[in-house]
């Protein structure tokens, strides 16, 4: 086996355990050591490292007059240079295979989160525009959703392209919701995406879902930046 990140050979370590239950490693130990999940105290609403229960941003969200559409977010990894490098290769250069680097940890953390949540959730990935999807060949959020052991529903779609959304004024971006629901969903939803930055995208998606009868929306993301 070759490490997906550094292309070094992975020497399988043979113990009784690995002989009985062989697990295919996709990255080497050195790379694995650089991939450290968020640990220590975090904001209970958005997963940012914080010692005060809720971070300032989230306190701000709570104070906004319209109810926050996203009940909470859980992220697995913090953002750093190493992560940025992997994401660039995976998303922008289109090395589909690299998504598998996260598979195991993404699942473990999902189980950790789901313990405190009901199991009736449906996973909904944040979609790409048709144009992006076409050019990249895959949606990284959909790939992440596939790792989760719950039902998936690709019910969201994007109106227009990401590029247009960027071009228009920031004001317009805030008010205009780039998402549409293909079919309504009356089950609680876990939105899945690769990065939580301001949470704006996820909140837009959550709002569309709530407006059409979805009882509750939370998000599960790979990275909290």
């Amino acid at each position: 086996m070759t490490c997906l990140l550094c292309e070094k050979n992975i020497l399988p370590e043979v113990t009784w355990r690995t002989a009985l239950y062989p697990e295919a490693k996709v990255i080497c130990d050195a790379c694995n050591e650089l991939l450290v999940a968020i640990d220590g105290p975090r904001c209970t609403r958005c997963s940012r490292s914080s010692t005060k229960g809720n971070c300032l941003d989230c306190i701000h969200w709570e104070k906004t007059p319209s109810k926050d559409s996203l009940a909470r977010n859980y992220s697995v990894y913090p953002y750093n240079n190493f992560m940025q490098e992997i994401i660039t290769k995976w998303k922008y250069q289109g090395d589909y295979e690299l998504g598998n680097v996260f598979k195991k940890t993404f699942r473990i953390h999902f189980k950790r989160m789901i313990k405190t949540t009901s199991k009736a959730y449906v996973a909904v990935p944040i979609p790409l525009s048709e144009e992006r999807q076409e050019e990249r060949g895959f949606n990284q959020a959909a790939m992440l959703a596939e790792f989760l052991p719950i039902p998936k529903a690709n019910y969201l779609e994007r109106i227009g392209s990401e590029k247009q959304a960027k071009k228009s004024k920031e004001e317009r971006m805030k008010s205009a919701n780039p998402f549409r629901l293909k079919k309504s969903l009356n089950k609680p939803v876990i939105l899945v995406d690769d990065i939580y930055t301001t949470g704006m995208t996820l909140r837009h998606a959550a709002r569309v879902l709530l407006e059409q009868g979805c009882p509750n929306v939370i998000s599960f993301t790979l990275i909290r930046s």
């Binding site: 090395d95 589909y96 060949g137 895959f138």
Partner: protein, 471 residues
């Protein structure tokens, strides 16, 4: 449709596309126009990944390694499709999208009567090499190896050959494994051929067209070319990650026209090339002397007991401290090499304390460490070159290519496996580069002689003997 293109746009397109294997998105045409070109067979699609029952081959990079291919699910075609991971940083090659080859009229490269604007003087040894290179190019010999010691001024030896090639309307590529070196070469070559358009291509370069008559490229960029150049000059042949990445050897061969000439430059040929020379399988020219006429500084070995233990504790050997303070010429800057990145930072602060206590430096800003993935790398190197830094602590990234006029060189833990014979010779070759200060001290600090160290010193002494210096 095609007639709508102006002549100048069309000619630019030819220069940009001929001699390459391109992805659709690398061809600067809109859909309609592109289809018109396809219809007239001016672009020919070729399958990008060859699949046999046993093996896949990437048509662009030649990759055959199973681990460097992967599959992704295509929702439109409802099946798995293969893509190449080996050359993905150049844009993804995927089985469902062909590569395109220019099939129209060939580009016509201009003939330049006397393009070289360099007015310097060559030494006798340089002149001999320079003439051999020019003759090899003009007589379209298939390959020539230029074996020239560090500091012999090999860039200048190329000018006559390049000028001769330009006179014939040939296209030339200068390829080097290191991006730092590409950036350093561009202004030098441009100055020597001031009227000729030259482009530099490397990962992340602004310039992406690759449409000029002279191209300076990092080796990966060669992967796009196919029978494009009459002359390919490979700088630092021994530093090519050929053994690690076989697609590079494939790409350099392919970038050359069948009638073209490959020129290899090296200061430290590897065993494979030396054997070829012995058997006369490769034509070569040998330049054993530096351009300033002084011999290569011969490294000293210095034994340090418990070197490893001290390094682990973050201290440096006493012998090294003694050397630091007793150097002949304390005006010289200091290049200190260490085997690993983690050691460079630790040791830099130690060295600072020592030099400060001995009043050799006054301020912490005069010393820093730099390594391969350091985002500040470019800035630090140029600061050292401008003498705003007195001491640079580094890993093997600075072993070659970059030149500083007046330095002393120390390698701490020279017995480490990263310092092979070629690396040690190259590192030693950093010293004594300028005519004003043609000497420099080079010391290998070690805790046990290695073959590489002994061979490197023997090699340097032999070069000096061949250069006519007897010591």
């Amino acid at each position: 449709m095609i007639e709508k293109l102006t002549t100048s746009l069309y000619l630019e397109l030819v220069k940009r596309c001929e001699g390459k294997l391109l992805l659709r998105k690398e061809i600067p045409l809109d859909e309609d126009l592109f289809h018109a070109f396809l219809g007239q067979n001016i672009f020919t699609p070729i399958s990008s990944i060859i699949k046999t029952p046993f093996i896949k081959i990437c048509r662009r990079c030649g990759n055959r390694k199973k681990s460097q291919f992967s599959n992704m699910y295509d929702f439109n075609k409802k099946r798995l499709i293969a893509y190449c991971r080996n050359c993905i940083q150049m844009g993804r090659v995927i089985e469902t999208e062909p590569l395109y080859r220019w099939n129209g009229e060939p580009a016509c490269w201009q003939k330049h009567e006397s393009a070289c604007t360099w007015e310097g003087q060559l030494t006798d040894a340089q002149t001999k090499a320079s003439e051999t290179i020019r003759d090899a190019i003009l007589q379209q010999e298939s390959a020539l190896l230029v074996w020239a010691v560090c500091g012999s001024g090999k860039t200048e030896m190329l000018f006559a050959g390049i000028e001769g090639a330009l006179r014939q309307g040939m296209r030339i590529c200068l390829a080097t494994p290191r991006v730092d070196v590409v950036r350093e070469l561009l202004p030098r070559i441009q100055e020597a051929f001031s009227t000729i358009p030259i482009q530099a291509l490397y990962g992340g370069s602004e310039e992406k067209r690759g449409s000029s008559q002279i191209i300076i490229a990092s080796t990966h960029q060669l992967l796009r070319f196919e029978h494009a150049f009459d002359v390919v000059i490979i700088d630092e042949l021994d530093a090519f990650p050929y053994h690690a990445d076989t697609s590079l050897a494939f790409a350099t061969e392919r970038a050359l026209k069948t009638s073209g000439t490959m020129i290899y430059l090296t200061a430290t040929p590897r065993r494979k090339e030396r054997r070829k020379l012995q058997w006369n399988q490769l034509k070569h020219v040998f330049v054993p002397t530096r351009y300033h006429g002084y011999p290569l500084p011969v490294p000293q070995m210095c034994m340090c007991f418990s070197l490893h233990k001290q390094l682990q504790e973050g201290t440096v050997p006493r012998a090294f401290i003694r050397w630091l303070c007793q150097r002949e010429n304390k005006q010289r800057q200091l290049l200190i090499f260490l085997p690993t990145i983690s050691l460079t930072e630790k040791v830099a602060s130690q060295i600072y304390t020592i030099l400060f206590n001995h009043k050799i430096i006054k301020d912490a800003s005069e010393i820093t460490s730099v390594h391969a993935s350091d985002p500040e790398r470019e800035r630090k190197i140029s600061q050292f070159r401008n003498k705003r830094l007195l001491v640079l602590v580094t890993t093997t990234i600075l072993e070659r290519g970059v030149t500083f006029p007046s330095v002393d060189v120390a390698i701490i833990d020279a017995g480490h496996s990263v310092f092979d014979e070629a690396a040690l010779v190259q590192i030693a070759g950093r010293a004594g580069r300028s005519a004003e200060d043609p000497d420099g001290e080079v010391v290998f600090f070690h805790d046990g002689k290695t073959n590489a160290m002994v061979r490197a010193i023997r090699f340097i002494k032999r070069m000096n003997r061949l250069g006519g210096y007897t010591r």
